[in-house]
Amino acid sequence: MKPCKRIEIVIEAPLAHRLTERLRQLGAPGFTLVPDVRGAGDRGERRADELSGDSSNCLILIACDDQATVDSILEAVRPLLSRSGGICLVSDAQWLRH
């Protein structure tokens, strides 16, 4: 087990591709993406029922044990969220080595 940060991002579906592309460039060790997620927040309800995918969210989970990478990920996420909404949470976790 090694300590790591657990980054959790909720972002609208049309932007998910852009974010995962960015994660790769920043050298994130990986990510897991839950598609077709609903939600509600400052900008009202998002029902994940529109054909444009416009009202669907994605939940992205990133485990990262390198603080510099964590910081650069957060730096990359911030402008996306401030323009288009969504949330980003960071917490501590233990990563099982295998």
């Binding site: 009202g44 029902r47 994940a48 029922d49 054909l51 444009s52 996306l80 323009r83």
Partner: protein, 331 residues
């Protein structure tokens, strides 16, 4: 009048109503999201293929090319006056998004109108499908150009937005790509190809349109209700009443314009109706997807609600038979 009642009394429209009613009585009826998406892909595939086969059976002539040109031209011009009208009351971003929305087209409204003509036994030409596909993108580009010129673009936007991505987004958007591709394949394979896929493409068309409009009724009614609930929050910037009025007048005004153009082009009854419907409709698939990437400052609660929850039902229920009556009367 009979056309009007005939339209309201056709199964696809009644299923749209049923979807609306489901939301009104708070039923939990719901078409699973992936199936609704698949139904929309089916409609694009079927209408594209049919259009392509029809195209293969007709010959290219000057009238056809002129019509396509007029369609693209209108799709690029409508956003301009829409933008300046909207900018008086709304933010630059919202005005640009609404401009793009109404310059572009609603594939489902087109498909419903085509089904309406089929039921009424009025002929229409395959190249109108090409017109539909060509009208999706120009409006998006004009909308963004307007915003770039008249809005002050913030820092954040700058590093997110690239013209290359946007062109890609608007030209190769999934639904545009599928219509164009299916049309091309229909055109290549012609009636031999049609005979292979006819049971799917033709026979099931109206039945599946019913199920799809059931879903659209649910989605549109939900969005309308949400926008009413959000009333207070919007009160400052985007008064609901303005949205409703604009979303009803714009299709009418654009339809009038299209009617004049259709007259000049000398289009027949069926083609004229589809042409008018294209111009009068507003996008709620391709444009919102592009706007979220290029203009996230614009509020989908405004432009998407207008096109999906107001203009779309209006065109479906009242617009199509009204335009039809006017065409019959004028052309």
């Amino acid at each position: 009048m009979t056309a009007f009642l005939g339209n309201l009394g056709s199964p696809p429209l009644l299923f749209f109503f049923l979807g609306v009613m489901a939301v009104v009585v708070r039923s939990d009826l719901e078409i699973p999201a992936q199936v609704a998406k698949a139904l929309s892909l089916y409609l694009l595939f079927a209408i594209g293929f049919k259009g392509g086969v029809a195209l293969a059976e007709s010959s290219v002539d000057a009238g056809m090319l002129l019509t396509l040109l007029a369609a693209v031209g209108l799709s690029a011009c409508i956003p301009i006056y829409t933008f300046f009208l909207m900018k008086k009351k709304l933010s630059t971003a919202d005005a640009a998004a609404i401009a793009a929305t109404y310059g572009s087209v609603s594939a489902v409204t087109f498909v419903t109108a085509a089904g309406y003509l089929d039921i009424q036994g009025v002929a229409w030409s395959g190249y109108l499908v090409a017109a539909m596909a060509l009208m999706e993108s120009p409006a998006i580009i004009v909308g963004i150009l307007l915003y770039n010129h008249f809005g002050k673009r913030g820092q954040a936007s700058a590093n997110l937005f690239s013209w290359k991505q946007l062109l890609n987004e608007s030209l190769f958007n999934g639904s545009v790509f599928l219509i164009l591709g299916s049309m091309l394949i229909g055109w290549i394979t012609g009636s031999a190809g049609m005979s292979q896929v006819e049971p799917l493409v033709k026979d099931l068309f109206l039945g599946l349109l019913c199920l799809f409009l059931l879903d659209m009724g649910i989605v549109a009614a939900r969005r309308f209700r949400d926008s009413r609930h959000a009333g207070d929050a919007l009160a400052a910037g985007q008064p609901l009443r303005l949205m409703v009025v604009a979303a009803l007048l714009m299709p009418l005004a654009n339809a009038m314009l299209a009617l004049v153009v259709a007259g000049f082009l000398g289009l027949g009854e069926g083609n004229a109706l589809l042409f008018v419907v294209l111009v009068a409709s507003g996008s709620y698939i391709a444009v919102p997807a592009a706007m979220r990437l290029a203009l996230p400052e614009a509020n989908p609660g405004t432009y998407l609600t207008m096109s999906l929850a107001i203009t779309f039902p209006f065109n479906l229920l009242i617009g199509i038979p009204t335009y039809h009556a006017m065409i019959r009367w004028l052309l």
